[in-house]
Amino acid sequence: MNHCKSLGFALLGATAALLMPVMVQGQENKNPPKKKLVRAVKLTASGGSRKPPTQPELKQRFTKKLEGAWIKNAAWNLDYEKALQASQESGKQVFAYFTRSYAP
């Protein structure tokens, strides 16, 4: 848990550090930002040079996700309406797990 807090704190710092040099551009800035930070900001701004996945690639990732053995370990419902209907009929709450297949 503490480890997670440290990580979160580090991320906050990284965000602030990343934004700091850019936010003064356009104003009188006598301290030019360090090269490494400028590179990091540029990389973030461009979203990197990676191509977004195509629809067939996304479909493949989705299929692979559905093949996970863990899905068969419990009665997961993939249909939203059916899950709500089952909740209505049984009086049980819905326990929902939101995940993604397009990225790890």
């Binding site: 704190f9 906050l12 996304l58 819905v94 326990f95 397009y102």
Partner: protein, 239 residues
């Protein structure tokens, strides 16, 4: 979690008391309910939540992903549903607590939340008012932040985005309205960075004091404070 908790026999047993729903965001075009994650107001994967039979959010799990902690969230969801029925039957205290619970679940946007709070405030005990006020600040900040992110996605120039983002943080800082949790620290670090770059010694000193007061229980606090202290010393020395 998938290869751990969700693959365990304990989970199989525990899950029999619930209807399980698995939502996978795929980015596939034209897929039904693809936008459900965003529609529920969630922001990070993975998210575990308890929903009612209408799909309304009753509790979002924020603790460790182990059965006892998830059960605690399930109990909160159950308590929320009880509160809702009490409020529906006309219990005035339940109405006030339900409103705050709904703010916590981000079921209201800032405009509607403000309106409802104005109607309920007079009868609310001070402690509940204070909680509602803090939640309203959180909602307001998140809305403005999200609006800005949307503009960035829609093609806003990144420099302009950064300028507006800094402006937003400075506005919240100057108004004394601090969102809860780490967002407040993020704002303070942004303000200190801005102050340093603009050689605003007074602003840096003031924000640093607030940062010390708010972040003292955070791991990694001491080195960060000494970094900002040396930035302040540098400004003072530059004079």
């Amino acid at each position: 979690m998938e290869n751990g908790l969700f693959s365990s026999a304990d989970f199989t047993e525990w899950s029999k008391n619930y209807v399980l729903y698995l939502h996978i965001s795929t980015r596939l075009e034209g897929r039904e309910h693809e936008g459900l994650f965003r529609a529920k107001g969630f922001t990070g994967f993975p998210t575990l939540a308890f929903l009612d039979a209408e799909g309304g959010l009753c509790a979002k799990h924020a603790g460790s992903r182990v059965i006892p902690e998830i059960q605690t969230t399930a109990d909160k969801a159950r308590a929320y549903m009880v509160l809702r029925s009490k409020a529906a039957s006309g219990d005035k205290v339940a109405v006030q607590h339900l409103f705050v619970a709904d703010l916590e679940l981000a079921r209201y946007d800032f405009a509607l939340g403000s309106l409802k709070l104005a109607g309920l405030r007079k009868e609310m005990p001070q402690s509940l008012q204070k909680k509602a006020d803090q939640l309203m600040i959180d909602i307001q900040y998140n809305e403005l932040r999200r609006r800005l992110s949307k503009e960035l996605s829609a093609g806003l120039d990144r420099k302009e985005y950064t300028r507006r983002y800094q402006g937003l943080n400075l506005d919240f800082y100057r108004s004394g309205l601090f969102p809860s949790g780490r967002t407040a620290l993020s704002i303070l670090m942004g303000v200190m960075g801005y102050a340093f770059q603009n050689k605003d010694e007074a602003l840096l000193a003031q924000a640093l004091e607030k940062f010390k007061a708010q972040a003292s229980n955070q791991p990694g606090f001491a080195p960060r404070v000494s970094r900002y202290e040396s930035m302040l010393a540098q400004l003072r020395g530059d004079k």
